[in-house]
Symmetry: C2
Subunit: 213 residues, 2 copies
């Protein structure tokens, strides 16, 4: 089944948030919670929560609420947090290092197996126990290790050739921190874009208009 | 006028993208473009572009297209890219350093004036010419310098006290990289959240379901 085509992206994007809140409830020893209570804590509506969970078959019992540890476990399974999806990172600067830390501290089911940079001065450095290799080795590394996902923490220049090669070698999803528009040339891959500049400019607009209010 | 309340956030979030594409067109010497051509390049529809621009009074002339440098300039003005909104950054680790670089390389109208960390070992380091100061000094710094925005590149623990203080001292917008839910306790501030873990987990879900397709 390709759930991706059945469930709207906005529901999917809420799953990690549910997972995070449930983790926090679990840590606080809360075993059972109603959709109403969960909604209040998360700033959602109870009907939205029930709708979201129904997309995956529903996890509650009418009038009885949700069992927190069970729901946490089930959402974790849906998110494939225990997966072993192999991932490579391109870019070992400050952003690459921060992102590598995030990958290691997040239950995402990804396993970072290789880090690459074109800056020779960075090669040989260790990030989370993984050596930074020259970008010249990425092709052979991908042939040998078959990662399914690539993280791009480099500027947009010269990106086309790299993306074309990674897609050719079987990479089917990208966590993209660059401004390069991957889907324009490869509409079939999965792409999660993090456009930090757009995010900051949006905040700039909001902050400046707020000042005029 | 408080534009924030009049124009939908989805339109606002597209403005930086328009600005980016127009910059690229301008650099390539393109002086005029129709909404249809711009739509094709951006993967939008022409009517969506016309609708977005009409929210700000419309910038084109029927049948004549948009003047690229003029449109770039006008959108820049709307985004307040030439502004001088003072901003402080909390967290001088890898993420903080990467985010400081992004602030300096983005036309957002923000001016980063202070960087703080609770890790004494980082204090005194220079990032983009700004010394990292101990978090103990942030209160007096804000009283003296009156920043309007704070960037949070620290974990969620002990965040409540910091946010409460910053809001009390006049900070009205946050670029939030932590999981701390600022709007829950301060519904009146502006908050642009960058939840990297949620983004990665969403990609994890999509990548794993794609594999089952």
């Amino acid at each position: 089944m390709n759930k991706k085509e059945e469930i709207s992206i906005s529901v999917i994007k809420r799953l990690p948030r549910y997972y995070r809140y449930l983790d926090s409830l679990k840590r606080n020893g809360i075993v059972r919670i109603s959709s109403k209570e969960l909604a209040q804590r998360m700033g959602l509506t109870a009907s939205q929560i029930r709708h979201d969970f129904n997309c995956f078959g529903g996890f509650g019992q009418q009038g009885y609420g949700y069992n927190v540890p069970e729901l946490y476990k089930k959402i974790g399974e849906i998110l494939d947090v225990g997966g072993e999806k192999k991932m490579v990172l391109v870019g070992a600067g400050n952003l690459g290092k921060a992102v590598a830390n995030k990958i290691f501290s997040t239950d995402s089911g990804f396993r970072l197996i290789g880090i690459f940079d074109k800056n020779i001065a960075l090669c040989g450095n260790m990030i989370k126990g993984i050596p930074v290799r020259s970008i010249d080795y990425i092709e052979n590394f991908c042939i040998d290790n078959k990662p399914v996902c690539a993280v791009l923490c480099i500027p947009s220049d010269d990106m086309k050739e790299l993306i074309d090669m990674l897609v050719r070698l079987g990479v089917k999803s990208f966590w993209n921190f660059s401004n390069y528009d991957i889907l324009m040339s490869h509409p079939d891959v999965l792409c999660e874009n993090v456009h930090l500049a757009d995010s900051l400019m949006t905040l700039g607009y909001l902050t400046s208009t707020e000042g005029q209010a």
